[in-house]
């Protein structure tokens, strides 16, 4: 495997060829907020929080989906990027109905953590208060679309890891939402194996165990990477 070198915020790093800019920032010890990305799942660049500046390019690049190349010089924490990241997080909050006080994920929510990370103390954008529903038709789990940020982790984990492909994204624009089966009630989708991986990877309280009450949801977002390593490389958790 050949190695390439590039600079992250002026620091030279050497990384294997073919990995993403996100891996380069990690090699440089730089922490970038992430919401849609999850190790073990294919990156999609949906949340736009990992945008970075690449010298010589006039547009911002998502670090999770951009391949690193020899000699690149990237910047991860410019004033413009910090402002854009905070704006993106504010838009997540303004676009949905995120009421932390009684959410199952309160205190254990990636959106909440990212808001703290980017220094968001209020939203500069008017809250949209969309009319959304809770689908609790599944016997074990429920999805609250009010809390969904369309990261598509559930879509990917169900397709790539579980192989059931229960989830998809339906509609367009502000009407975009996660659908089960062919936009059926989740409990009626026969493809669902009740595995709970979508619950494990959901970064917010959108998908949860039905018996969870306020602040009781536990995150297991490391599971896709562990499962992938187990399948692809035969590396097991206890090894």
């Amino acid at each position: 495997m050949s190695v390439i070198t590039l600079s992250v915020n002026g620091k030279e790093v050497a990384i294997p060829e073919g990995v993403s800019l996100l891996e380069a920032t990690r090699a440089a010890g730089v922490d970038i907020p992430l919401l849609c990305h999850l190790d073990g799942l294919e990156p999609v660049g949906a949340c736009r929080l990992c945008l970075v500046e690449v010298e010589g390019s006039n547009r911002l690049m998502p670090a999770c989906t951009t391949a690193a190349s020899e000699g690149m010089a990237i910047h991860t924490h410019t004033h413009q990027l910090l402002d854009y990241r905070r704006m993106a997080v504010e838009l997540f909050f303004a676009e949905g109905n995120h009421i932390c006080a009684f959410c199952v994920a309160n205190g254990n929510c990636e959106l909440q953590n990212v808001a703290v990370q980017v220094g968001m103390d209020h939203s500069r954008f008017p809250y949209q208060y969309p009319q959304r529903v809770v689908d609790a038709s599944h016997p074990l789990f429920a999805i609250d679309h009010n809390r969904c940020i369309l990261c598509t982790r559930c879509v990917r984990v169900c397709d790539e890891i579980e192989g059931a492909h229960v989830w998809d994204v339906g509609s367009r624009g502000s009407h975009c939402h996660i659908v089960a089966g062919l936009d059926q009630p989740w409990g009626e989708v026969e493809a669902c194996t009740n595995c709970g991986k979508c619950v494990d990877v959901c970064p917010t309280g959108a998908i949860f165990h039905k018996e969870d009450t306020t602040a009781e949801k536990l995150r297991h977002s490391d599971r896709p990477a562990l499962l992938k390593a187990a399948r692809d490389e035969h590396v097991w958790r206890n090894q």
Binding site: A101, F102, V134, A136, S137, K210, E211, T213, E216
Partner: protein, 489 residues
């Protein structure tokens, strides 16, 4: 406070007390005078709107403990427990004995801290500093200046209750520790030791407060005891199967002012058969009433005084002695709303004795504190005794566990008719009759009218939830009472 002069000399006059101070929530009182200055009507208006009953619809019932706890920062525990109990019924589970005892401990701490807040922070400045004292100093800060030891003791008594809430639930307010099926954690050794360590101080404080209050009651507060809402009404509260004081389980009992038990052994499940909920166009607060007597004759009171009136005894020695003293002073069924203050102090004694029993009970250290099940029923009613009185949560859910209907009957709402009657009685006693046109009513008189409301320690932020049934009715009246313009919503 303000006194609005009449627009024309011949018109009726309305004296407005807005806002009513040292209560939880927002309200105003209007005193309606005719052209000759005679008091013709009084109204206690609750002017805020919360709407929980409506916006909880379509949410999972498992969230209700967390959501309804947010109704109030003073007694979140009451809603938390009532929602959890309603959730138990939807799951159709028997909660573990340890969970039952721990919930009791939580409610006792809640009653203690809330009653301490009502007595020391909100009401005692009137008794101890005087009704006519400077309004700017007639508060807990004035009390600190006048009697720092008593003020400190009162604040620490409230802290004692609050700290138990934190030790059990992880935070003083808005904990989500009680859940359908039980509670989340057992009592830790550290928490038990802290409670036992602080109990003697709490007992000393309540001894001091009771002694002081009884002295005042036998002296300068005699008139207040007589005119602050002393009228016959029913009283309602929970009692144990053998008729003792209860605060979280048991059955409902109604007692008449002559001591007769009007109804006993009532289940919360049947509340709609004996409680009606009326609305008036001038307040967001419901007017619950005892159905067999109709509205408004079915006036009844809830809360600490009602609990002591309906029970036969409390069941712990010190509290029972204090209960007998209260009954010696105010009658077997105390009908004066002013006796609510005394009842709060007696209930704190009862709470401290019960807390001591519970923390010494090894069952509270049992790690089995939660029963788990999925939805087994579509409708349930939960009940508990909040500091201000009996609290009902009624949920209907679909087969997925999403709420289709929510009804909350809050303690303060059940005292609504009584609060209006109390205000009227105090105004009749203290406001000059007739009030000469153009004269200002002294602040001390208006303060007594406010204090009538404070007897009930109302929590208005808790109590205004109904949606879709609160008509807005505006009338523009001429001096002779003719309707000039009218609009309804």
């Amino acid at each position: 406070m303000e006194s609005r002069p009449p627009a024309a000399a011949a018109m009726t006059r309305t004296v407005v007390i807005d806002p009513v101070t040292r209560i939880e929530g927002h309200a105003k009182i209007t005193l309606h005078l005719d052209a000759a200055g005679h008091l013709i009507d009084t109204r206690f208006h609750v002017v805020e709107y919360r709407g929980f009953e409506k916006f909880c619809e379509c949410r999972p019932f498992t969230e209700m403990a967390g959501i309804t706890a947010r109704i109030c920062g003073i007694c979140p525990v009451s809603h938390l427990l009532c929602a959890a109990k309603t959730g138990d019924k939807l799951l159709a589970v028997q909660i573990p004995p340890a969970a039952d005892k721990l919930r009791r401990l939580l409610n006792l701490a809640q009653l203690t801290q809330s009653h301490a807040l009502s007595f020391f922070h909100l009401s005692s400045p009137d008794f101890l500093l005087g009704w006519e004292s400077d309004p700017a100093k007639r508060n807990v800060f004035g009390l600190m200046a006048a009697d720092p030891d008593l003020a400190r003791a009162g604040i620490r008594l409230r802290q004692f209750g609050q700290q138990i809430l934190e030790l059990l639930g992880g935070r003083k307010i808005h904990s989500a520790w009680a859940v359908p099926g039980g509670v989340r954690t057992r009592l830790s050794v550290e928490a038990r030791d802290w409670i036992l360590d602080r109990l003697p101080e709490a007992k000393a404080t309540i001894t001091l407060a009771l002694g002081l209050y009884k002295t005042l009651l036998d002296g300068p507060l005699q008139k207040e005891q007589r005119v602050f809402g002393d009228f016959p009404s029913l009283f309602m509260g929970l009692v144990t199967p053998d008729g003792r004081w209860e605060h979280i389980d048991g059955m409902l009992r109604f007692r008449a002012p002559d001591g007769t038990i009007v109804a006993d052994g009532l289940s919360e499940d049947d509340y709609a058969s004996f409680l009606g909920e009326a609305v008036e166009p001038w307040s967001y607060l419901k007017f619950p009433y005892y159905k067999p007597l109709g509205y408004p004759d079915g006036i009844y009171r809830v809360g600490p005084l009602a609990r002591l009136n309906v029970c036969d005894s409390i069941g712990t020695p010190w509290a029972d002695r204090e209960l007998e003293e209260l009954r010696d002073r105010s009658g077997r069924v105390a009908t004066s709303s002013f006796a609510y203050h005394h009842a709060r102090l007696v209930e704190i004694v009862a709470c401290l004795e019960a807390i001591e029993q519970l923390v010494n009970d090894p069952e509270c250290r049992n790690s089995r504190v939660r029963s788990r099940a999925s939805l087994n029923r579509n409708e349930a009613v939960g009940v508990s005794e909040a500091p201000r009185g009996t609290l009902f949560h009624h949920y209907q859910v679909n087969d997925d566990g999403l709420l289709t209907r929510v009804n909350l009957i809050i303690a303060t709402g059940q005292n609504n008719l009584a609060m209006n009657k109390t205000v009227h009685q105090i105004a009749k006693e203290y406001i000059p009759d007739p009030v000469p046109a153009g004269t200002e009513i002294p602040e001390a008189m208006l303060n007594r009218v406010e204090a009538g409301i404070r007897c009930f320690d109302p929590c208005l932020s808790c109590s205004t939830h109904a949606a879709g049934q609160m008509p807005l009715h505006l009338q523009l009246l001429s001096a002779d009472g003719q309707i000039l313009a009218e609009r309804r919503r």
